[in-house]
């Protein structure tokens, strides 16, 4: 177990390093210079800007400095905002995005498997059809379209839901729902098929014939086994939610990290792009690690002593 953990954490660290390096190389391979385009700058100002962002040094030296700063937790200065550093923006935007993401994840994790179980228990009956219609809508309608439709048809007509912005919990309902729908649908479909498979197993019949109540069999024997595939896609779900927040935050005008990211793309703010990308990737890789470890703990069939091939 410990050996596996160490290996897994080491791999995660290598991945984060790879992301940092790739991002750095990519951003520095963009032809031209971020300050050249700003028209008619006095040479002295240009030299100063170059020196401030360390762009006058060779790339390899910049890379080492960047890594050193990252180790200290410093993501650098923004190239366009004169007042805020990348760290300021991340610490301002991330709590908002995290709340939104967690809410969406909660909605998906609670309702997705529940719909799937319902569909499996009432296979080819009305609850099955209803939940599968919801699931099909969920996988077909991208979140940015769902968000726009929600604003247009729900928020405009129901004054309970604000049209956009951020503040009270009411602001977060529609965006987190729009974000949650796709993972919710995926989980419902997965849960349905794995539940149907589990319900056909012999141990379910055994449990029933022992005289255990149907609800207990479903909750303790069926759901507990059927949920494993759902847990295994949690990592990708979190990844999709994270990236999905870019568009959702843009549509709903939410001041989260995703909006800073989109802004940094439109402004060509290279340090901010680099900083947010690395931050996103690091968060995500850590989440994947946690999900992996959780999966190991939940599924007794995975043995950690042997190296699986």
């Amino acid at each position: 177990m410990t050996k596996y953990l160490i290996k897994r954490i080491a791999l995660a660290l290598v991945t984060i390093w790879a992301v940092i390096t790739i991002t750095f190389m990519l951003m520095h391979s963009i032809p031209g210079n971020p300050f050249r385009s700003e028209s008619k700058m006095p040479p002295a100002v240009y030299e100063n800007l170059q020196a401030k962002y360390g762009l006058d040094k060779p790339v390899s030296e910049q890379y080492v400095i960047y890594l050193q700063n990252l180790l200290k937790g410093d993501l650098g200065d923004s190239m366009k905002s004169r007042v805020e550093t990348v760290n300021d923006m991340v610490s301002r935007g991330f709590p908002v995005s995290a709340q939104l993401g967690l809410q969406a994840l909660l909605i998906a994790v609670v309702f997705g498997p529940a719909l799937g179980v319902l569909a499996a228990l009432y296979q080819n009956k009305i609850p099955d059809y209803i939940s599968m219609i919801i699931a099909i809508i969920g996988i077909s309608v991208p979140s940015f379209i769902m968000g726009t439709l929600l604003i247009q048809f729900v928020a405009r007509n129901v004054s309970f839901f604000p049209i956009g912005g951020w503040g009270t919990w009411r602001h977060s309902l529609l965006p987190s729902f729009a974000m949650a729908l796709m993972p919710l649908a995926t989980m419902a479909r997965l849960m349905r098929s794995s539940m149907l498979e589990v319900l056909g197993q012999d141990y379910i019949k055994t449990a029933r014939s022992k005289g255990i109540a149907k609800s207990a069999v479903i909750l303790k024997h069926a759901v507990r086994n059927a949920i494993l595939p759902v847990i295994s896609i949690l990592g990708t779900t979190i990844s999709n939610l994270l990236v999905g927040s870019f568009v959702i935050e843009k549509i709903f005008g939410i001041p989260g990290l995703g909006r800073f990211f989109v802004q940094s793309i439109n402004n060509r703010d290279y340090t901010l792009i680099m900083g947010t990308t690395i931050f996103y990737a690091a968060i995500l890789i850590i989440m994947l690690l946690i999900v992996d470890i959780a999966y190991m703990l939940v599924d007794p069939r995975i043995k950690l002593t042997k190296e699986g091939r």
Binding site: T23, P142, F144, S239, L284, L288, R309
Partner: protein
């Protein structure tokens, strides 16, 4: 002492030939692929998806010529027209015909999805196949590498690459978008193929082929890959909507195709501006089309998965 039996013709009777064909199989044996098609045909949802895909694919070529307007043609005196007899899907804020633009966009979205999926398929099958057949050490190095690439979020890479590779005036070419998607998109296919190869290379027919002197490459090409075509096909079908979704997101973030070219994503992004002034149809039409495409490929993929599964054969 010998018995003298008089073999008279009466002692013999003709064998009854009526049972001769008893173990012959009368019904024609259904081969794997015709059977898959037969079962797919019974899946109404999947057939609906397939029909929609074919219709949309045809419309994406024919539809751009039907209304008589070109996708870049501006009619500044007829901007923001609601759907009517002249502009079937209305016109946008520059007076361009939405009907032509939507099908033009669908052409690009579909092309990007299909080409990206095909590239993922090619790289994934080769990489996964080689990893599966290679020695254990090579395999584990190749898979670690794939894992590292895989844990970098897909859309993040696509966005980053389109930023780096975008053209002067903002926006990316189709080539850049596909390149960005393929760079990390092949990994799930490679993992799938490798898993299948590891399983199938232990089968008797692989062993038989090997003992007859076949090389690893031959076994992979002639025996293993044809037998994994089912799961691969399902994966390709489900990669297409993922690529289309990624492209739509890119377009929505302003990193898609450069105007006046359009994809469904950039059209939805343009429509967002129209929404603010009450022109709901400008976003609704591309939105419906994106959703229809995603729906069709997803149900087709699901149907294929079910009909390719020999355990579900009836």
């Amino acid at each position: 002492m010998m018995n003298n039996i008089d073999f008279k013709p009466e002692l013999f009777e003709k064998a009854d030939k009526s049972n001769q064909n008893a173990d012959k199989i009368h019904r024609p044996s259904i081969k794997y692929w015709p059977d898959v098609w037969r079962r797919l045909k019974q899946n109404k949802l999947a057939m609906l998806g397939l029909t929609l895909i074919i219709v949309m694919a045809i419309m994406s070529f024919v539809g751009t010529y039907m209304s008589g307007y070109a996708y870049f043609e501006q009619h500044l005196d007829m901007t923001n027209q609601k759907p009517n007899s002249a502009f079937w899907f209305g016109s946008d804020e520059l007076g361009r015909d939405m009907f032509t633009r939507v099908w033009f966009g669908a052409r690009y979205s579909l092309a990007i999805g299909v080409i990206a999926a095909l590239i993922d398929f090619l790289i994934g099958v080769i990489y996964g196949g080689v990893a599966g057949m290679a020695s254990r050490r090579v395999d584990s190095i190749m898979m670690r590498l794939a894992e590292i690439i895989y844990s970098i979020p897909y859309l993040l890479v696509v966005i980053l690459l389109s930023v780096v590779l975008q053209t002067e005036g903002g926006g990316s070419s189709m080539f850049v978008i596909i390149l960005a998607m393929s760079l990390t998109g092949w990994v799930p296919m490679a993992i799938l193929v490798r898993g299948q190869v590891l399983q199938l290379k232990e089968t008797e027919y692989s062993l038989a082929s090997e003992s007859l002197g076949a090389g690893k490459g031959w076994i992979l090409r002639k025996h293993i890959i044809p037998n994994t075509l089912g799961p691969i096909l399902v994966n390709v079908t489900l990669t297409i909507p993922r690529a289309i979704f990624a492209e739509a997101t890119l377009g929505f973030l302003g990193l898609g195709l450069q105007a006046p070219k359009s994809s469904l994503g950039t059209l939805a992004n343009d429509g967002l501006a129209g929404l603010a002034v009450g022109n709901t149809y400008q976003i609704l039409i591309p939105a419906i089309l994106i959703s229809l495409i995603m729906f069709s490929f997803n149900v087709l993929g699901d149907g294929l998965r079910d009909s390719l599964d020999p355990r579900l054969r009836k």
